[in-house]
């Protein structure tokens, strides 16, 4: 029986709560309502209000409380209802949680779950992919699973990790991707990319929902004789540079793809590292495909024009293939 991405996250949370009595969840509408996306549905019945805590609409207090509880030995998992609202808790994340280990050796083992991404007509405040705010902050781990299997394995690793982890769940994947999961307890390591699809002629380095766009394009190009390797980073911080470089050394061409907007996006960092460390292997420029530098628009034709998709990626692939 295939498991959806949303069920996979829920199962990961459930198993970790069963395994460790110090794990508890807090956030807006996560209890009786089961969360805006029903990620925590049923958990209140199983674990009760002590461990599934509905909070006021106070993102800064939610993040701060998670930090304080983690100092006392608990393992809080806090939900930001939408990744867009994470900005309301920004200071707690970047100034408190991220810096406390470095400053005074006080680890803050907490997880912030953040439903992110567009394609659901959510408009400027329910669609953002804002991971670059946090990849630029030392002390935070940033995880963005693309598959159900990785979503479960990574949420479990995030809860067990001894540093603060921001866990971006892509809303468009919740019910759209599913697969058979391994039986029983398994984890996926933080900081390890996966080769989502092997290939020989070109690498597409991507993460989160864009992994599926890259895979679609790779399947199309296979028929034209171009073999594309799709690297799913899964974690941006810490970054698995080795897997990226190994792929590029093999294929000699690379496109970096993400849903977040272009300027200051994490794709620039990846392109720079490839250029610095694998320049002599390259047979063409490292290309980037990302959203334009605008807010995420609401109206369907505008959002369609905003988001990277297979058609836009195909153009880049063909251009680079011909280079």
């Amino acid at each position: 029986m295939p498991t959806t991405y949303v069920e996979a996250i829920r199962e990961g949370l459930r198993e970790e709560m069963e395994r460790d009595p110090n794990v508890f969840l807090l956030g807006e509408d996560i209890g009786i309502y089961g969360g805006a996306f029903k990620v925590t549905q049923g958990l209140l019945d199983q674990f009760g209000g002590r461990r599934i805590v509905d909070t006021p609409i106070s993102e800064s207090a939610i993040v701060g409380a998670a930090i304080g509880a983690s100092f006392m030995g608990l393992r809080p998992v806090a939900e930001m209802q939408f990744a867009d609202f994470i900005s309301c808790g920004f200071d707690q994340i970047v100034n408190f949680a991220a810096k406390c280990r470095y400053r005074w050796n006080a680890p803050a083992p907490l997880v912030l779950r953040a439903p992110c991404g567009g394609g659901i007509h959510g408009g400027p405040y329910h669609s953002q992919q804002n991971e670059a705010w946090f990849t630029h902050t030392p002390g935070l781990k940033v995880v963005l699973p693309a598959t159900a299997r990785d979503a479960k394995g990574l949420i479990k690793s995030a809860i067990r990790d001894n540093d603060p982890v921001i866990f971006y769940e892509h809303k468009a994947l919740y019910r759209r991707v599913k697969e058979d999961l391994p039986e029983g307890d398994y984890t996926v390591p933080i900081g390890k990319a996966s080769v989502h699809r092997e290939g020989r002629h070109m690498s597409i380095v991507t993460y989160s929902a864009m992994v599926h766009v890259a895979a679609e394009v790779a399947a199309l190009m296979e028929r034209e004789g171009l073999s594309i390797e799709v690297i799913d980073l899964r974690t941006l911080t810490p970054l698995d540079e080795e897997t990226i470089l190994a792929s590029v050394r093999k294929t000699s061409k690379a496109i970096v793809l993400h849903e977040a907007n272009l300027t200051g996006g994490f794709g620039g960092e990846i392109a720079a590292r490839i250029t610095e460390k694998a320049f002599e292997y390259l047979d063409g420029p490292v290309l980037r495909l990302a959203a334009p530098d605008t807010p995420v628009p609401f109206s369907p034709p505008l959002e369609e024009a905003y988001l990277p998709n297979a058609q836009k990626l195909l153009e880049k692939v063909r251009w680079l293939a011909a280079y």
Partner: protein
């Protein structure tokens, strides 16, 4: 991860009894007053050296913030807190560190950016903490500690303990959203949180009436459905009594309790600030209310101590501080090779 192993405080002032030659058994109230004098003197003298000597000599760099005139607040609260209670000091509560058994040497090394400081040179001044001693480091954004303290209090309740959390802040901090969000969350969760405001009437250069339109910080509490009281922030025993009431309230599962300690900042915001904007008469008025002079008078009036015994406390403080400063000045700076350590947990490979 192993949770920080507790190393709860050994109270240096307890040694005062052994030092006193009289050997006579003191009343609990007299005991409190004597301990209050020692810790207030320690804080005043340590901060005077930091702000007026070491900073001006260039031996301490960066921002220096002191609690001159406000010593009764951390000291009164510190006397009421149990060793397992969790403390979140503000930037004007240095005495709390000494009361938790953190040494003068460590504190001066911290201010001087030395390796032996509590942050090993990663951060300066009173930006320090030690989870083993249940004392949490402040960050620069005012009131950011309040939601974190609320979460620590929620955790103590979750763990079924009757320990409480004390969080300290100034009047200016109550203008920030974090203050309100943290109190509101703690209130609905009935978390055991004691909120201590040092209302020193200035937020940097901005007087209270430009910070808030209500008369008292305590007036904010009814909006969150929690009790509040106003205490004389220049009397350590009054602060102690208020904290006992607040902690008893919080320990019995009744949720947060706010204490507004009225006091005055007898200095600028920080060492570079001459505080020209404060009317001179206010300094003169509040000088009359100096918490150290007041507790000395109390000790004498009640016949708990002699003038010689009081002078001996100050002399002991000066001695301890001389020794600690010399030690810290001769202690090494952190090695730049450690720059990258500790951003994340070090994985055993």
């Amino acid at each position: 991860m192993t949770v920080a192993k507790l190393e709860l405080s050994t109270d240096p002032a307890l040694k005062l009894d052994a030092d006193s030659s009289s050997g006579a058994k003191l009343s609990p109230r007299a005991e409190l007053a004597r301990r209050a004098l020692y810790y207030m003197s320690l804080m005043r003298e340590a901060e005077d050296r930091i702000e007026r000597k070491l900073y001006r000599q260039g031996k301490i760099l960066g921002g220096v913030y002191v609690g001159r005139g406000q010593e009764a607040i951390p000291v009164g609260a510190g006397l009421a807190a149990r060793p397992e209670d969790v403390l979140f000091p503000s930037h004007r509560d240095l005495a709390l560190y000494f009361m938790r058994g953190i040494s003068l040497r460590e504190v001066f090394a911290q201010y001087m950016g030395r390796a032996a400081g509590l942050t090993r040179g990663r951060d300066g001044n009173m930006h320090m903490g030690d989870l083993r001693k249940r004392i949490v480091a402040i960050i620069s954004a005012m009131a950011a500690s309040v939601p974190v303290a609320a979460g620590a209090a929620m955790a103590l309740k979750y763990q079924g303990k009757d320990d409480v959390v004390f969080v300290f802040f100034g009047d200016g901090a109550t203008s920030r959203g974090d203050w309100h969000e943290g109190i509101n969350l703690a209130a609905v969760q009935k978390a055991p949180l004691v909120l201590l405001c040092n209302n020193n009437q200035y937020a940097y250069s901005t007087p209270l009436d430009k910070q808030m339109a209500c008369a008292n910080v305590a007036d904010r509490a009814p909006g969150y459905g929690i009790p509040a009281e106003i205490a004389d922030g220049n009397d350590p025993l009054a602060v102690y009594d208020a904290c006992e009431r607040a902690a008893a309230h919080a320990r019995s599962g009744n949720g947060p309790y706010l204490i507004e300690c009225k006091t005055f900042r007898m200095t600028g915001h920080s060492a570079h600030d001459p505080a020209d904007y404060v009317p001179k008469e206010l300094f003169e008025l509040w000088e009359q209310r100096c918490p150290i002079r007041r507790v000395e008078r109390r000790l004498l009036d009640e016949g708990w101590d002699s003038p010689a015994a009081i002078e001996a406390v100050h002399a002991r403080v000066r001695r301890e501080i001389d020794e600690a400063i010399e030690w810290a000045e001769n202690s090494p700076y952190p090695d730049p090779s450690e720059l990258l350590d500790g951003v994340f947990e070090r994985k055993e490979s």
